[in-house]
């Protein structure tokens, strides 16, 4: 809630939410309502902690004392969690815990890499379109709008079918899809900053365009964009989950959360945990990314003077 600072100016309220993640965030908001502060509260650090944990486990999976995620028949099929297998076994007797952790690898790689592609390509396009405006801007945004009009799932299907199923191709597909929305965000942010007087001042000093874009505009555009990027990572993870649920992501037997949900769906009555555990992990991870991104955005936007 905004409080006037000593010079009489009232700080801006945080910007509105992205429709996609509203439902997820509503839950998170209820959970952390008690700790609402303008700064990064304990909820933020919990989310960061979870994300960090998932990344660490994914990276060092090989070094951990885990069962092999692909080895079938390690134990009896459909053993409930607890006991020898901490999270139970799936239909083929594979260790759920190991599969979850190796599945995290897929989600994290897809999440971060695809958004990295989006940031680099979309970011460049957005910066150019936003800074130069005019005809260049219109052309670029026209192309971006065309991409936005593509039905995402169909495009992903097409790319994966055409290029073949592999982790790399999933990254390409989702990365490609993220270019347009990121380009739009960066473009509008760039336009807002290009009109600020310090940019005019830089031009008046004789700075060349490249210098203005990299030294004046970029440092202002990057922080709020990174906050948005975290939310987009969440979207990418869900997208990958959807693709692997449909069997279009990495090929089995490689573990992926969506694939695990798919494999477990026929056993929901008798062994629900086979689907629900990966679903829960994905839910918490996505929630963590969303919340962290949202907190960062709230914190960075008003202080950076973007208003």
């Amino acid at each position: 809630m905004p409080a006037p600072s000593p010079d009489g100016l009232v700080s801006e309220a945080p910007a509105g939410r992205d429709g996609q993640t509203t439902g997820v965030l509503a839950l998170g908001a209820i959970v952390v309502a008690g700790t609402r502060r303008r700064g990064l509260g304990i909820a933020f650090w919990l989310c960061v902690g979870w994300i960090g944990l998932v990344i660490l486990l994914a990276v060092f999976a090989g070094a951990l004392p885990l069962h092999s995620p692909d080895a079938t028949g390690l134990g009896p099929p459909r053993v409930a969690p607890g006991g020898r297998f901490w999270l139970g076994t799936d239909d083929l007797g594979r260790d759920m815990l190991a599969r979850l952790i190796y599945g995290a690898r897929v989600s994290m790689i897809v999440g971060f890499s695809s958004i990295a592609i989006g940031l680099v390509v979309g970011g460049t396009l957005g910066l150019i379109a936003g800074y130069y405006k005019g005809r260049i801007g219109t052309v670029i945004m026209g192309v971006v709008d065309v991409f936005l009009a593509f039905p995402a799932l169909v495009l992903a299907l097409a790319i994966v079918t055409f290029l073949g199923q592999s982790l790399q191709n999933v990254v390409i597909a989702i990365g490609f899809l993220s270019i347009a929305p990121i380009a739009r965000i960066i473009r509008s942010s760039t336009i807002a900053f290009s009109e600020r007087e310090f940019v005019i001042a830089a031009r008046a000093l004789g700075a060349r365009n490249f210098r203005i874009v990299t030294k004046e505009i970029l440092p202002n555009v990057v922080p709020p964009t990174l906050a948005y990027a975290l939310v987009y990572v969440a979207v990418a993870i869900v997208a990958e989950g959807g693709l692997s649920f449909l069997g279009l992501s990495v090929k089995p037997p490689t573990a992926s959360w969506g694939g695990m949900i798919n494999e477990g769906k026929t056993f929901l009555p008798q062994a629900p945990y086979i689907s629900l555990l990966p679903a829960a992990v994905m839910f918490i991870t996505v929630l963590a990314f969303n919340f962290a991104g949202d907190s960062l955005r709230t914190r960075l936007d008003p202080r950076g003077g973007a208003a």
Partner: protein, 377 residues
């Protein structure tokens, strides 16, 4: 309409014209007690760094039909004061003190009761007409809303009244304007609409918070004249909050100068300008460029900045920047003392134009204190 010099006897004997819905006899009102009495008002805003004491113990009174000018720079608390009087503070603000309107305490009213006061008894005109008018509601509705709620008018009557109001504030083609949206009007016209809305339900007190700051100077003069006319017509009291001493000079009966949340000097207008006592007021007057000065006149700028409202000094708040400051000023905060003869009150240990003050200034000059260019940090 030409402006007029303010005379003490102007208001008591005038017969007041009646606008539809309001009737008030000047003479009857003048015999009642003061319209507004503010006593030891404090408004603070809790922040991460501590409590921002925006208004720190302000008291004043205002008679019916009179104008009080509240002058101060940004951070002085003048805007928060007007909002605090009205009760229009953001949630989380801490307010203590008494605000008595026509003898009634309104500082502790429940929101419902307060809403009945707003508009009908006390109205406010804000600085920026672009944000104080609802951009997606037609002008007509914004005016008639209040009329229908507070005065219980029917739709047709309210519309007629709205047209009359717009005409009386100088808006040409008022019927057409009713259907327009705020963005279709210029800044000056929007402010006229804001004034029309404010006076529509016949309030006895108008709080004008920098009503002309966002306007061009020719439009400013028109709006200030309009406010004055409406005030006279309706026998309204007005608190005119501004940073411009020129604005209050010709239009206020009484002036209160604020600094860092406190009233540091208050007096009838002519008295204040003639016999400045508080060094801050003197510094303000000296630092304003005037059209009558020759060009390249060196302005007597007062260096430094106002204090941090969270971390206030123990002594006088102006002491770090004051050319008259002495050790006592830093140690002990001067109280606001009134000279009952002239009605002039000031808060200073070494006031301007007194033997102590002259002495203090001379001492500082001899010691070569950096009076006009205090350290900027």
């Amino acid at each position: 309409m030409f402006g007029r010099a303010r005379g003490a006897g102007d208001l008591e004997t005038e017969v007041v014209e009646t606008e539809p819905g309001t009737a008030r006899m000047a003479t009857a009102e003048a015999s009642a007690g003061p319209l507004l009495v503010v006593d030891d008002l404090h408004v603070g805003f809790p922040t991460e760094r501590g409590l921002v004491r925006a208004v720190d113990g302000v008291s004043f009174r205002l008679e019916h039909g009179r104008t009080l000018g509240v002058v101060g720079e940004s951070g002085s608390g003048k805007t928060v004061l007007s909002r605090g009087v009205m009760g229009l503070l953001p949630p989380g603000a801490v307010r203590t003190g008494s605000v008595r309107f026509e003898g009634r305490e309104i500082a502790d009213l429940a929101p419902d009761a307060l809403r009945d006061v707003w508009g009908a008894e006390i109205a406010m005109v804000f600085q920026d007409p672009m944000t104080s008018l609802n951009p997606v509601v037609r002008i007509g509705r914004q005016i008639t809303e209040g009329l229908r709620h507070h005065l219980g008018m029917g739709k047709a009557e309210a519309r007629e009244t709205a047209v009359a109001l717009l005409r009386s504030v100088g808006i040409p083609e008022p019927e057409r304007r009713l259907e327009q949206y705020p963005f279709e009007l210029s800044g000056g016209m929007r402010q006229r609409v804001t004034i029309a809305i404010a006076i529509s339900c016949g309030p006895k007190l108008l709080l004008a918070d920098e009503p002309t700051t966002a306007l061009d100077v020719t439009v400013q003069a028109q709006i200030l004249n309009l406010l004055e006319d409406k005030q006279r017509e309706r026998f309204m009291a007005m608190v005119l909050v501004t940073h411009d001493l020129g604005v209050v000079a010709g239009r206020a009966d009484h002036v209160a100068v604020m600094y860092a949340g406190k009233v540091v000097e208050t007096a009838p207008t002519a008295e204040l300008f003639a016999e400045v006592r508080m060094p801050y007021t003197e510094a303000l007057l000296k630092s304003i460029p005037r059209t009558t000065d020759p060009s390249h006149t060196r302005l007597a700028a007062v260096g430094g900045r106002p204090p941090d409202l969270v971390d206030l000094p123990a002594g006088c708040r102006f002491a770090p920047r004051c050319p008259y400051a002495q050790p006592r000023c830093v140690a002990e905060e001067p109280p606001l003392r009134t000279d009952t003869g002239s009605g002039h009150a000031w808060a200073c240990w070494f006031p301007v134009g007194t033997p102590e003050g002259d002495d203090a200034l001379a001492r500082n000059v001899r010691a070569e204190r950096p009076q006009t260019l205090a350290a900027q940090a």
